[in-house]
Amino acid sequence: MSSNEVTLRQESTGQPLDTESEVQDTPAPPAIPFYTECSEAAQAELFNECEAQFAQLEMLQNEIILAEPDSDENPQEQSVNRLTAVAAELKQWQTRRPELLSTNPEVLLVVGAEELQKLNSQLELVLSCAQAKRDTLRETLKSEQKWLEEKKEVLRAGTEHVVKQRLENERLSEHSVLQDTKKKIQKMKDYQNRLMETLADVLAEHFPLPTQETNADKKKKNIPQELNENLISLNEVLELLMNKTLETPHDPYVSIDETFWPPYTEMLLRHGIAQRHPEDCFKIRLETFY
């Protein structure tokens, strides 16, 4: 046999490659405490049964050793052997009848009690596990509900805000725009009035009409001057010009007559406040500021 040869060769080289060591056994498990102790008779009966079983086992073992066939290296043979073994096992399962563990009711009682205890402890484990699971689920539910409440609160606040905004929007569009515009107009009017007043004040203060005193000063220089009693103030001149521009924009020219004091007319023209008519030198108009 080939395997034998290999063994011999290995041994002759004196190098046993394979080592074999043993790992310590697990300590024998403590015997499960019996729920109720069996009576002596029952124990003896069980013992006898075990003896009988073991004797049968030994007998079978001897049979196996005696019947040990020559080992086949051929894989095909191995497959056939396997098939045979499986078939034999199948047959055995089919013919096998369930047999009672023991006929002694006392033994059965103890075994049953043991089984029930085992089942009980397992179920207790399941119970505690389920309880723990339930507790965690409850916690989760609580936190989820809290979360939901928060979200609802947020939603409520958001909706409220939206409604408020919408209302405000509507109010703005109808009423407040009008009010706003009115206010603006009023503001503009006020502004204009103020400007006008200021202008009138400035003109009244700094551009007075020539009076007799001033004429008297000038008379000292021997400059004879006719004083027109009908002269209108600069204020009125400007008013005329502005009104003319606003009333008849197509023809804003005003004719200069004797009521206009020439120095003021000249000043208006020089400072670019008024403009002469390009063809008629007796007509002036307000400079186009707009």
Binding site: M1, S2, S3, N4, V6, T7, Q10, P16, L17, D18, T19, E20, S21, E22, V23, Q24, D25, T26, A28, P29, L57, E58, Q61, I64, I65, E68, S71, D72, E73, P75, Q78, S79, N81, R82, A85, V86, E89
Partner: protein, 185 residues
């Protein structure tokens, strides 16, 4: 006697014996400790070996081995070859649900994919289950130990209504016809 036989000895009472065969001896000790620690209701003996055949002098003291696990590191070619040669020293009876392959480093990028395929083919040809394990993390070792124990208990006959042969017909490794060397190139 060079062949390791599954039924040459009487089984121990409430005892299961597992043998871890690993050429490199890196992983087996860690796995053995974890296996022993994991199981509380059954006496588990773990035996370690580099390769088969086992030395003759221990023949007498060696208990009946219920499950032989070949640990194969995909990173080394030698690991696979060693397992392949060791397989010859197993009685064919072992291949009826008492052998299992444990592969590590399957996710390593540097491993040529053909190696895993060849291990799968080997396991499939012997009708054995093939487990993949992570040997670097504690969690991976625990998982591997857990899975081995499940198989071991069945193989040792400690699970009522289940036998190793029956389990192996369900868990044996199969190689889909599509997987070939060409597909990986």
């Amino acid at each position: 006697m060079s062949l390791l036989k599954p039924f040459s000895k009487l089984p121990g009472l409430n005892t299961a014996n597992i043998m871890l065969v690993e050429n490199e001896e890196q992983f087996q000790q860690k796995l053995a400790d974890t296996v022993v620690l994991q199981e509380k209701t059954v006496n588990v003996n773990v035996r370690l070996a580099r390769s088969l055949p086992l030395p003759v002098e221990n023949e007498e003291s060696r208990p009946r081995i219920d499950l032989v696990v070949f640990i194969i590191h995909l990173t080394s070619e030698l690991s696979f070859q060693s397992a392949e040669t060791s397989l010859k020293y197993l009685d064919p009876g072992y291949f009826q649900g008492k052998v299992c392959f444990l592969v590590t480093n399957a996710r390593n990028v540097s491993v040529p994919p053909e190696r895993l395929v060849s291990v799968r083919k080997l396991a499939a040809s012997l009708h054995c289950p093939l487990l993949c394990a992570e040997d670097q993390t504690t969690e991976g070792v625990t998982t591997a130990a857990h899975r081995l124990l499940a198989i071991l208990k069945v193989a040792a006959g400690l699970v009522p209504m289940a036998t190793g042969l029956y389990l192996s017909t369900l868990t044996r490794c199969t190689v889909p016809s599509g997987i070939d060397q060409q597909n990986f190139e």
